[in-house]
């Protein structure tokens, strides 16, 4: 059983995940060559892709 706090955390992180996805798509975040991570100061855009899978 989930607590109220867990539900709130899931909602908050879902919103953050959606914001990250939009930022990737509009290239307001790119990949930093120093960390390999998404960053506003990054220089390498994320080309459009779809995650695939077999399970």
């Amino acid at each position: 059983m989930q607590s109220l706090g867990e539900n709130t955390a899931e909602r908050v992180f879902s919103e953050l995940a959606k914001e990250d996805r939009v930022a990737i798509e509009n290239q307001s975040v790119k990949i930093s060559t120093l960390t390999g991570g998404l960053s506003k100061s990054g220089t390498i855009p994320v080309p459009k892709n779809h995650n695939h899978g077999e399970i």
Partner: protein, 153 residues
């Protein structure tokens, strides 16, 4: 960057050169040996993330599953959420140490071809996958573009 004949794949040494020149701080090992590109990188997908070690392997081959680079998560091992693995993995390509192979793009959408640099495609896709995976561990939802799944692949 020089332009290439589109009928010819980018040579592996040039792929290595691009990886090393763009991500020199992140590369643990990157070489071509016996016709196979092998690159281990340390990626921190966001400011508060873990550091992930990934292995990229690629050889220029006409076999469908070797036609494009493949990526394994070496460390930490992929975690489960409520007993389930993330769905965007190739479970059949899990190696003997339990390293999971990531599903980063959908081949049928032609999102990658051998005239593209791994440094400009797979590395950003790995970072985005890891970022999405970290959110999935919390929320159980995969907030990224997805393709249809095919169990026969």
């Amino acid at each position: 960057m020089a332009k290439f004949n589109k009928s010819q794949p980018i040579p592996l040494p040039l792929q290595v050169y691009a990886l090393k020149s763009k991500y020199k701080n992140l590369i643990e090992q990157c070489e071509v040996k016996n016709g196979v590109l092998s690159c281990i990188m340390r990626i921190t997908p966001s400011e508060n993330s873990d550091i992930y070690r990934v292995l990229i392997k690629y050889k220029i081959s006409l076999k469908s599953c070797e036609y494009y680079p493949q990526v394994w998560l070496l460390d930490p091992l992929v975690r489960t959420k409520e007993g389930k693995l993330p769905k965007h993995i190739y479970i059949s390509r899990t190696d003997s140490s339990g390293h999971i192979c990531l599903c980063l793009f959908y081949p049928r959408y032609n999102e990658w071809n051998r005239n593209m640099l791994i440094a400009d495609t797979f590395v950003p896709w790995i970072s985005a996958w890891l970022n999405t995976y970290e959110y999935w561990l919390i929320t159980g939802e995969w907030h990224y573009a997805e393709s249809p799944h095919d169990r026969s692949k």
